[in-house]
Symmetry: C2
Amino acid sequence: MQEKERQCNDGGSRDNVNVNEGGNHETACFGKITVIGTGPGDTDHLSKKALEAIKSSQTVIGYSSYLKQIDGILSVAQERMPFNMKDEIKRCEAAVKKSMEGRDVALVSGGDAGIYGMSGLLLEIIEKKSLLGKIPVDFIPGIPAFCAASCAVGAPIMNDFCVISLSNLLTPWEDIEKRLRAASQGDFVIILYNPKSMKRKNELTIAKDILLETLDKDRPVAIIKAVTRPDEEIVITTLENMDKFDIVSMNTSIIIGNSNTYVKDFFMITKRGYGNKYNLDLA
Amino acid sequence: MQEKERQCNDGGSRDNVNVNEGGNHETACFGKITVIGTGPGDTDHLSKKALEAIKSSQTVIGYSSYLKQIDGILSVAQERMPFNMKDEIKRCEAAVKKSMEGRDVALVSGGDAGIYGMSGLLLEIIEKKSLLGKIPVDFIPGIPAFCAASCAVGAPIMNDFCVISLSNLLTPWEDIEKRLRAASQGDFVIILYNPKSMKRKNELTIAKDILLETLDKDRPVAIIKAVTRPDEEIVITTLENMDKFDIVSMNTSIIIGNSNTYVKDFFMITKRGYGNKYNLDLA
């Protein structure tokens, strides 16, 4: 077989991937797909590694609103492929298609791409196409929205915690209810994602009622909308009232404290146990 | 009162903090304390915001091993104050002292500073000293180790998850057991931090036995040591065997899949439900 001029990418990410090994060199010359979390919103929260991976890709694929957020760091030469919400499968298929054309692809996703993001679906689709281990893929972590949300109100996490999405688009609602009960019985700090959308209006109230089976109505709750973005808004309230605020939407994280959480001066703080351990007179 | 020449920091982080308002201007002229997560290890995973906050501080305080990791980004002019492990209270007290001397302080912590990090203890100590709302504080999120660990093996999280530390130094062991039971009953992806240390040898085996009350012995498990660091090591195994590997230490994250997790070609993937929703023939 004649050597092609264009060099194949070596993938770099996985020692056991060698796209040149065996098979038809021509068809095996895939571009690399890098799945990248773009963080909570403000691109100042991107890591150097994520930034460089985005800049060095030839095609950038993602939900249109996330592409808009990172547009300022892209060059005119980079191909942008924005997709609508819910078109996650089309995004992955486009990434695979571009890779098969030999182009390096950045598949971007808000927050961390491994948390309710694009990483898993991409791998499922690559596997379905029998290309797992052939297409070079890499995953670059990002700052999850809940970490930025937590920073915005002080230190509400600090100890063992759960993250639960209230969207039943992909997870059966009975699983969500089971997790809400388990999380409250385990005295975790509980973070709720996707508490409300255009179509889902009552889930947060149902979740509240489930949590109130176990937790006190005065349990501190922080509601953080659009964290790090220009329209950021924060409310600190109690479990009893957490469903009564207009700022709750798809872009809102809700942090429910555990039994060691308190609020002081608009800071939400979960004590981790230093006071007990060192016999300190901490609040 | 005569105006001092040196300008006070405005804090910037909280609208309701004004260190110049009332009181003695001289003593109220605090330096700002910024609590910063340094991420999983490799400084390429620092955000621009975290990097700039570290670089612009006059004094950098933290556990000696984290200070060593970021030493390359510090200037000779910056004061370094390394502390031993377990000296968390001393670190916070040093940060407060430096702030009271008018110096801007970066208090660094591995991963995200709000997850088992320094954020909460700093606030508790500032409150104990009746300085809450007086000392300007800011919190900058970092990439948690478990996000980098997840990226290293593909997409094991993807859906609702819990993070549980197996260290009973600050959390009573019975609380940890309760959380392990709740997490497995809720079918969460479960991430274990601090699975083992010099003094704690058997906790991971006890945790395994608790999880096996509910979960199948073949449940996929990823063990990721020192993620993004030169000594990174990865094992993909099953729940039954997760306590049998030497790489398990304080620097190891363990990710236990939920009922939708599978392993293929050294990738660990948690299906999120796209296959069911769109009637796709996904693996």
